[in-house]
């Protein structure tokens, strides 16, 4: 399905539509612009519809566990207040106004205006539902024309949201193009890239490097690559509560998000402390896994198959299954300190990392680091946060909130809205 200028077309018409896009965009750029208020009010209307259950049919059909939480979160994120806060934090109070410099002495004055980059191509990832629409909304907020290439795994939710957005604010129609082009159709994607001033790419290394190859040299690449996150434990403020919150986080995000805990680091160089932690934590993790049994058919199939395979493996090896492992979750104690991807889906690595080694170990993963969920006694919190910041981490939260959204927070250490704009200086 394709959306162009507010109308929905069949995927077959892609090449025809893409052929006209450049002219249409030139026309729009020269004759129209959108202001932030229009976008905010469209998003606000969308948010009301979401609250009223207008999207419940499609949302309930998604194979996601704990969908109500997602819905509540989306409603909070899309509220006018939250968007205003985002704009102010990222762009500053006066950023959208034209300012004048007042340099000392007789130095020349200039006017400063923030303008949209122009045309943004969003190449969205499929690991989070509704993300493509979110990326597009950021592009609109900054006044850009947006071309969105949907991920192949998109389930129709994004198209539905975007269609509603245009319905409630038809003037946005000229600023939105959505294509469901397969990633294999390089020539079409290349064409989109050529029309664009900036390319926003979400996804893993493969996606990012593919886009780097096909992007014209003169277009700005804005990459939101995959990141790794971990929990760091050095004592507790309230052990029982903190462990159960960490367990909830691990089970509910299934390790799939950039902010999901992949490794639990223990502030020690003694492997015995690692296994001792596993003994303490495993029952807590099992309990969380039990309360959040997955409902989607593929997760259930995977668990059933894993259980069955474990049984066959035990016949082959004649030994009992590994400790800290149940059908729904597992802890893997390790001797090394490397930050790496866990097996996900309820499985997490536990490793020793004395705080004196944090910077040297994590430094090797610079550019990939995102969130540290920090559990420690209150008196150590500032000192450990400081070390973590120096290591390259861009978010520090309490362990249970690693994937929570905080209004006004940056994205992977940067303010996206700023990257979608450029500054124009005019001599007065």
């Amino acid at each position: 399905m394709i959306i162009a200028k507010g109308k929905i077309y069949d995927s077959k018409q892609q090449d025809e539509i893409l052929g006209n896009v450049e002219n249409e965009i030139t026309e729009t750029l020269s004759s129209k612009s959108i202001d932030t208020e229009t976008v905010i009010s469209a998003v606000e209307k969308l948010c009301c519809k979401l609250k009223n259950g207008d999207f419940d049919d499609i949302i309930n059909s998604l194979p996601i566990d704990g969908i109500d939480e997602y819905k509540k979160l989306a409603i909070r994120m899309l509220s006018r207040e939250n968007i205003m806060l985002k704009l102010k934090t990222e762009l500053g109070e006066d950023y959208l106004k034209t300012l004048e410099t007042s340099p000392p002495e007789d130095l020349p004055k200039i006017k400063i205006t923030a303008k949209p980059l122009g045309v943004l191509l969003h190449i969205a990832a499929g690991n989070m539902d509704g993300l493509p629409a979110f990326s597009l909304a950021e592009g609109l907020l900054t006044g850009n024309i947006n071309i969105l290439k949907l991920p192949s795994a998109d389930n129709g939710l994004s198209v539905r949201i975007i269609a509603e957005l245009i319905k409630s604010e038809p003037s946005l129609a000229d600023f939105i193009y959505v294509f469901d082009t397969p990633s294999t159709d390089i020539s079409a994607i290349k064409k989109m890239a050529e029309i664009s001033d900036g390319i926003v790419v979400w996804g893993g290394e493969a996606a990012v490097s593919a886009v780097r190859q096909l992007a014209p040299v003169n277009s700005k690449l804005i990459e939101w690559g995959h990141r790794l996150s971990f929990a760091y434990i050095s004592g507790f403020a309230d052990k029982e509560k903190e462990l159960s919150q960490l367990a909830e986080h691990i089970i509910t995000t299934k390790g799939l998000l950039c902010s999901s805990c992949q490794v639990i680091y223990i502030d020690t160089d003694d492997y015995d402390d690692v296994t001792a932690f596993c003994r303490d934590f495993f029952p807590v993790l099992e309990k969380a896994a039990d309360t959040h049994k997955p409902s989607s058919i593929d997760s259930r199939a995977e668990i059933t198959l894993r259980k069955y395979t474990d049984k066959l493996e035990s016949f082959l090896s004649g030994t009992e299954k590994a400790p800290f492992r149940s059908d729904l979750c597992s802890l893997v104690p390790c001797r090394d300190s490397e930050l790496e991807l866990s097996d996900m889906f309820g499985s997490v690595l536990v490793k020793p990392l004395p705080n004196k080694n944090i910077i040297s170990v994590l430094g090797r993963k610079k550019g990939y680091l995102q969130t540290a969920g920090l559990i420690c006694s209150p008196d150590k919190r500032d000192q450990l946060s400081d070390i973590l910041m120096k290591s390259g981490i861009v978010r520090i939260t309490k362990a249970g909130n690693m994937s929570s959204a905080f209004p006004g927070e940056a994205h992977d250490g940067e303010y996206p809205l700023r990257r979608y704009m450029r500054i124009v200086n005019q001599e007065i």
């Binding site: 190859q213 593929d298 259930r300 198959l305 016949f315």
Partner: protein, 373 residues
């Protein structure tokens, strides 16, 4: 293995109901063989408290312990000494985790008879020579993947006038040569002999897109065919919508939809599945498919979605008689298809364990990225 011989010599490749008894006997014979010759297989059956003699009726197939494909990725299971496995195939699957399955002479002989029989369905054998365009890897000793073998194998269906490969091995890696392929297509379109395309759907699609963009239209000789293959995985990672594909083939190559034939097999279940004229994959007599409940693993009725369990007594070298794939699928009543074949047909819906999803198709897409347009 006399029952296997009988089954694989049976004339009608889709007479599933008429061959149930024979199939059961062949499975029992195969099961007993592996039980006595593969100590790991015996351990599994003993552990599951199952003995080959428990196979008494066709319904007992559901009780036969199945082996998940992951087991073959972690263990090499053989029932014949190494020197007797003359061909080894590895799945083209997940990074660093490949299944290795071996075949001995009698397995390949059975396979050959099967291929001949199944292929009759779509008139794949013809004495008329063809020009072949293979969208696959040109065989090289470093590449053991089954896709290479099937792609090349399919060029022996009719006498080959020529073979042009899209992926050539040079400087230690495979490179895509689509310009070369395009020139070959234009050349062959002027020949009287039909052309056959063979290999990954994404390549074929890419070539046709390229032709479309450059406004190149050819009318290939009558009876030219597009043969699409890959693995099971091709079904859901293939992002090209089928009707778009068929339309494009008509537009740029003048090949009609009934001349586009898709088939697949998996290393762990090397039975050849070929689509019917309605593009459905009916189960051939060499195979039985059980769809199992994702929670209980009980066998489900036709029309219900579950895990896909595949059974075949084809192979003696490895105990792959009953394997569980990572796929979710539905078995449909054959009558619903309308093509005249009554054996049920399999539809693959998706796959579990998304982290494992890197496939040979994804690898192909990666090589394509290096093609300069």
């Amino acid at each position: 293995m006399k029952y296997r011989r009988k089954l694989f010599s049976y004339k009608d490749a889709f007479a599933v109901n008429d061959t149930n008894e024979l199939f059961l006997k062949a499975v029992k014979e195969n099961c007993l063989y592996h039980y006595n010759h593969c100590k790991e297989y015996k351990k599994i059956l003993d552990g599951m408290k199952f003995h080959p003699d428990d196979l008494k009726t066709i319904d007992d197939l559901s009780k036969l312990p199945f082996l998940p494909t992951l087991i073959f990725k972690k263990h090499k299971l053989y029932s014949v000494p190494a020197f007797r496995t003359i061909v080894k195939a590895t799945s083209s699957g997940t990074a660093g985790m490949k299944s290795e399955i071996g075949f001995c002479v009698s397995d390949l002989y059975s396979g050959l008879k099967m291929v001949l029989n199944v292929s009759k369905l779509r008139g794949l054998f013809s004495p008329v020579p063809c020009n072949y365009i293979v969208f696959g890897y040109k065989p090289h000793k470093s590449n053991k993947t089954a896709v290479t073998k099937t792609a090349l194998g399919a060029t022996f269906f009719t006498p080959a006038l020529s073979r042009t490969f899209a992926l050539k091995y040079s400087n230690g890696k495979y490179n895509a040569d689509l310009e070369g392929i395009l020139n070959a297509v234009i050349k062959y379109s002027k020949s009287k002999m039909p052309v056959r395309f063979m290999g990954f759907p994404s390549y074929t699609y890419f070539l046709m897109k390229m032709m479309d963009e450059r406004n190149i239209r050819v009318k290939l000789p009558a009876n030219s065919k597009i043969l699409l293959g890959g693995g099971w995985k091709q079904f859901y990672t293939e992002q090209v919508d089928k009707s778009v594909f068929y339309d494009l083939a008509k537009k740029v190559l003048n090949i009609d939809d009934w001349n586009i034939i898709e088939f697949f097999g998996a290393v762990e279940h090397p039975v050849l599945y070929c689509d019917c004229k309605n593009h459905h994959f009916h189960v051939p007599i060499y195979s039985r498919v059980l769809i199992r409940d994702v929670d209980t693993l009980d066998v489900l009725d036709n029309g219900e979605e579950g895990l896909v369990n595949l059974i075949t007594p084809m192979v003696k070298a490895c105990p792959i008689l009953s394997v569980m794939t990572d796929d979710l699928g539905i078995l449909h009543d054959g009558e619903n298809c309308g093509c005249g074949i009554n054996s049920p047909y399999l539809e693959i819906i998706g796959r579990i364990g998304m982290k494992d999803i890197k496939t040979c198709a994804a690898g192909a897409a990666e090589i394509l990225k290096e093609v300069n347009l």
